[in-house]
């Protein structure tokens, strides 16, 4: 049951590279949140029930509801709907994303080690690369934030792979969630656009040499 969910999660990462509408970005983040919630519940059924409940509620609340809601709120507030200035074409982004997928699969195949769940490792690596590609290739600040959330979701997915033995690690991943949700989205939602225009990362070039 977990494998189809992880494959679906991988598909969302591929889709993220070709979509240009910010509403789609927010929807994908929401979908990833729900997928991670399902993976966490299925994967961590062996851990302490109280711990599992906490992890499940936190994942659903932050990743499945709060983060997408904040993203939609930002879209409404800033009235930015799509990627206007992209560093590359959709085809180019897709190619890069697929290249990242091949690299992740190759690295996973190469290290083939029994100590780690390789599917989780490979997908987490792909999420990391996808997030970095999104940050580097897209110009708008909103895309950068989605790129970061993608990385963070990948890290959380990987933590569920190890968390069966060490549930404490998942709590640390949750701490990262809270930091991001509160601080990054908070700054973005309340401050940016008032002093800095949120429509282009070029607005973030005043502090430099």
């Amino acid at each position: 049951m977990i494998l189809p969910l992880v494959i679906l999660y991988t598909v969302t990462l591929v889709y993220l590279s070709i979509t240009e509408r910010f509403r789609n970005f927010a929807s994908i983040m929401g979908l990833q949140g729900w997928l991670l919630f399902a993976v966490a519940v299925l994967r961590l059924h062996a851990v302490d029930p109280a711990e599992l409940t906490f992890v499940a509620i936190e994942t659903l609340l932050f990743k499945g509801i709060l983060v997408p809601a904040l993203l939609f709120a930002v879209i409404r507030r800033t009235k930015i709907n799509r990627v206007r200035t992209s560093g590359s074409s959709q085809a180019g982004s897709l190619l890069l994303s697929l290249l990242a997928l091949v690299v992740s699969a190759s690295v996973t195949y190469y290290i083939a080690d029994a100590t780690v769940d390789l599917v989780f490792f490979g997908v987490a690596l792909y999420a990391l690369l996808s997030g970095l590609i999104l940050i580097v290739m897209r110009r708008r600040i909103f895309s950068h934030m989605v790129g970061f959330l993608t990385i963070e979701n990948g890290v959380f997915l990987f933590s569920t792979a190890i968390g069966v033995e060490m549930p404490l690690l998942i709590n640390f991943a949750i701490l990262l969630d809270i930091l991001i949700s509160v601080l990054m989205l908070g700054i973005f939602f309340t401050k940016i656009d008032g002093k800095i225009h949120a429509d282009d990362a070029d607005a973030l070039t005043n502090v430099k040499d």
Partner: protein, 466 residues
């Protein structure tokens, strides 16, 4: 340790409720009293309470860097009083509380004896630093704060992935450094290498090393100068200590030569960036920040070379803390005089504030590692070690880059002190007491250059032992 953290956090949080500057000052005195008591406790060999012993340890590195942190933070608090004279109460309250919380978070990172606990406290420093960076509430400070939060969060997430990989590779139930170090030799080399790479990349935003050094520079530029002194030394040391602990954790594994090679590469790249940007920047605070990148690059080269290089790297970081904080405090006085940091506009400082100018020039000579600078000792040791392993290319690169650094520093600092003002600046009066106070840190560093006390050598021996 938990009591210390709770007490320090409580005092710092109480500042948010202060209704006058006097109350903030009293809370500050109370906060540093707590620090002094805790420092006395750890210096007298006090043990960690059983509850926190599983997460924290009072080892030599933590104690040494904590004492330095207390000194720099206390200076930063006192200098901030004068620096923030024109700010309203709300701003001073938030700034002072965040400065204390940042000090507490850094102390937590120093004493953490567990990979995950170190990570948590480094994450906490991001929260506190971001607030300090945004202190002025301008578009530039918001931009710097946003970049800081964004890049540090990305770095912290990468470091966390590295910690997960390390945990997976070692199959270690606990993430205590000693346990991971004991299990690491049996771990998969590729996992260990990937884990180290991710952790180093992630923490580079705190250590101000290549590749994520940029956010540290931006943060130092946007934050008030006394806070920059803390960020550029105390926080950088927290990152350095985190990297040093992972470095020591992997010391007994087969991948250790590779780890050292990576550190060498990162160190050289940081040195290149630091040296080149010292020529390019037109702002004194960014100038000092690039100097931090350069010095941390030298420390990374020391770790990469190994042997006596590790000792030299630790000694270099300790002395850099005193010298760099002194220069940032002097820079706070410069801002008080000129209300700005633009290199091409300021000058004639020697006539306006003689003691401040002497402090800057002496700081420059010390930072450039001319005898009797303590950095001369550490850089000479590192160079000797580089020559001993016949890495002649590295000797050539380091010599060339250090020459560029010397030229940049001399031209910029001499310009500030002796060049006539470029336009109709109306310098204000300088607070000489602050210049004297900043100079005292430099004098302490110079004393270390001429005489390294036995107890300090013993402590650094313990830290450098692999």
């Amino acid at each position: 340790m938990l009591y210390y953290l709770l007490l320090a956090t409580a005092v710092a949080s109480a500042v948010f409720a202060a209704r006058s500057r006097r109350q903030i000052f009293i809370a500050g005195v109370l906060f540093y009293l707590v620090q002094a008591l805790f420092a006395a406790h750890v210096l007298c060999g006090g043990a960690c309470d059983p509850l926190s012993a599983q997460w924290f340890a009072f080892d030599a590195s933590a104690i040494l860097f904590y004492v330095l942190l207390c000194i720099v933070s206390c200076y930063a608090f006192v200098h901030s009083e004068a620096y923030l004279a024109d700010c309203d109460l709300g701003q001073v309250r938030t700034y002072s509380a965040l400065l204390m919380l940042l000090t507490t978070a850094i102390a937590g990172a120093y004493f953490a004896d567990n990979l995950a606990v170190t990570w948590i406290f480094l994450e906490a420093t991001t929260l506190c630093s971001a607030g300090i960076v945004y202190h002025r509430r301008t578009a530039a400070t918001l931009e710097a704060a946003w970049k800081y939060v964004f890049v540090c969060s990305t770095g912290i997430a990468m470091a966390y992935l590295g910690i997960l990989l390390l945990a997976a590779a070692t199959k270690c139930e606990s993430l205590a450094y000693a346990d991971v170090a004991a299990a690491a030799p049996a771990g998969s080399p590729l996992y260990l290498k990937t884990a180290f790479l991710l952790i180093l990349c992630g923490y580079s935003c705190k250590v101000e090393l290549f590749p994520l050094y940029t956010v540290g520079v931006d943060a130092n530029f946007a934050a008030p100068s006394p806070a920059s002194a803390l960020i550029s030394t105390g926080l950088v040391n927290a990152g350095f200590l985190a990297v040093l602990r992972v470095y020591k954790t992997l010391a007994q594994t087969d991948v250790f030569p590779w780890v050292r090679a990576v550190l060498l590469l990162v160190g050289v790249l940081s040195l290149v960036i630091g040296a080149l940007f010292l020529r390019r920047t037109n702002n004194y605070k960014r100038f000092l920040s690039y100097s931090t990148v350069e010095n941390m690059g030298i420390a990374a080269i020391g770790l990469g070379i190994g042997g006596a290089g590790v000792w030299a790297a630790v000694f270099h970081v300790v002395c850099h803390t005193l010298v760099k904080s002194s220069l940032f405090f002097q820079m706070a006085v410069v801002r008080q005089v000129y209300n700005g940091y633009r290199i091409n506009r300021l000058g004639d400082y020697i006539r306006i504030n003689r003691i401040g100018a002497i402090g800057l020039l002496a700081g420059m000579v010390t930072l450039l590692a001319f005898p009797p600078s303590p950095l001369f000792v550490s850089e000479l040791m590192i160079l000797r070690e580089v020559i001993a392993v016949h890495k002649w290319w590295l000797v050539a690169v380091m010599t060339l880059l250090l020459c560029i650094v010397i030229y940049s520093f001399c031209s910029r600092m001499i310009r500030l002190c002796y060049q006539p003002n470029q336009d109709e600046l109306h310098p204000s009066k300088a607070d000489r007491a602050l210049s004297w106070s900043a100079l005292s840190l430099l004098i302490a560093a110079l004393v270390l250059g001429m005489w390294q006390p036995d107890f300090l050598c013993r402590i650094i021996d313990q830290i450098a032992a692999l």
